[in-house]
Amino acid sequence: MPLDVARIRKDFPIFTRTIRDGKKLIYLDSGATSQKPQVVIDAEVDFYAKHNAAAHRGAHQLAEEATDLFEASRQTVASFLGAKSEEIVFTKGATESLNLLAYSFSNAEPGSKFFIGPENSIVVSEMEHHANLIPWQQLAKRSGAELKWFGVTSDGRLDESKIDSLITANTKIVALTQQSNVLGTINNLEQIIKKAHQVGAIVIIDACQSVPHIPVDVTELGADFLAFSGHKILGPTGVGVLWGRYELLNELPPFLFGGSMIENVTMTDATWAEAPRKFEAGVPNMAQVVGLAAAIKYLQAIGIEEVHEHEKNLTAYLLKELAQISGVSVVGPTDLSLRGGTVSFTVDGIHPHDLGQYLDSAGIAVRTGHHCAWPLTRALGVPATTRASLYLYNDNSDIDALVVAINEAKKYFGQ
């Protein structure tokens, strides 16, 4: 069933405001952060106004309610991913989730399956977001391990041709994005995961741009860890998820140390609670976790398959329309089976920053620059791109507005 976008937009209060003196808001920047439906805002408000207390820390009724809401949210996230509840760790965002892993590897003792030394290698790709690149660069520096990477083909796909020299018996970690936040490319990771597991490597998936847009089942995917952010999936800011296969998660050394993650503490030593608790030090981001669960329920009620289908249709239309504007070049695959609704492009003679500014003056929000994937931008040989990224609240009229504005911008900047 096609999405009723007009009705969906009514769920998002931001669409009642206007931009730059009365223009309709055309929001094409969901790749950076998504807008929030009222139910998500309400869930946070409800937590603060009625159930606020420190979860897991008190025998009083408010604390019980806060704990129940918090743990029920974990269950919601788990079932959305096809995971077990105790495999879900709440973080402040994907960036923390990925850094958690990199530091926890560092915290492993020799002999542990997470211990990484100069004889090991870490494999990433050239299309990684900085959040799934720099933590591994730093882990490589700390441990002496070698950092290797998959390149990107000229049409913006993962270049798997060198898989056998990249993933070898020494490989400890393979950390890859499931969907590029610049190219829109959806990586089919099956072969790589298989190969990585053959050599005993641990596979970490950056699912920031996939989980909000396509059905992801961690059991089917077969990876070991997976990270995403709440704010890109209609949820609040300040919350993220780390999923980990339980046996691994429970064995992984902790990262942040403090209250609620311990088993026993003396002045000189401490032992840890079981996962996921041992990764959730401190009073947690409870209201945000509850808001994230509301976001996921909202998406589930619409249907993530339906959202994906809708974005596919929109992307097809966007690519077709962009192809008709002279001077516009899309970076990344144009084959719809290989990509999602994040479309980066350049316009001859207009710098993305100037184009973005023009679009803004027409009420259209896009992102310009290197999109926190600077090595990729460099590999593509462009100084920067303009990125339109779609979500369930967009429709063809948004794309029409974008196309009109690009054509106007070309006139404005004299192209």
């Binding site: 993305p352 920053h353 100037d354 500014q357 003056s361 620059g369 100084p383 920067a384 404005y412």
Partner: protein
């Protein structure tokens, strides 16, 4: 159109026909500055004669604001002594922080007054400043060398 406050004609002119672009072979100081949030880059070569800016040249990639700004800055600074240059620099910094209500002194800033509108667009102030920060950096280095 409000956008015209930002994209004054003189800015678009300098963007299309930049001045002092193309790096000179010799210089007292060469600096390379980047805007990390968008990836704009410029390289600036500076030569001093005593305390006078005797040569200035640059190359770079970036948006119209960053490229026009370095072009205008380079023409403005050429043949100024460092004291005058500092006054111009300070004035331009002030203008950028003025949130659209600054009254720039055209006697000092000349064509650079065209950037008054940038101060209303916080995300673009860094674009306009890229070349000026490079100049500041280069002049310190060139003085050290001399």
């Amino acid at each position: 159109m409000q956008l015209d406050n930002l994209y004054q004609e003189v800015i678009l002119d300098h963007y299309k026909h930049p001045e002092n672009k193309g790096l000179a072979a010799s210089y007292d100081a060469q600096v390379h500055h980047i805007n990390p949030s968008c990836g704009d880059e410029i390289t600036l070569n500076l030569t001093l004669q005593g305390d006078k800016v005797s040569a200035i040249s640059w190359d770079g990639v970036g948006c119209s604001i960053s490229q026009a700004s370095v072009s205008i800055m380079s023409s403005l600074m050429l043949n100024k002594n460092l004291e005058q240059a500092q006054i111009i620099l300070d004035d331009f910094m002030l203008l950028m922080q003025s949130k659209g209500i600054g009254a720039p002194d055209e006697a000092i800033l000349e064509d650079a007054v065209a950037f008054a509108g940038v101060s209303q667009y916080p995300a673009r102030i860094k674009c306009a400043l890229l070349g000026w920060m490079a100049f500041k950096d280069a002049s310190v280095q060139a003085q050290k060398k001399n």
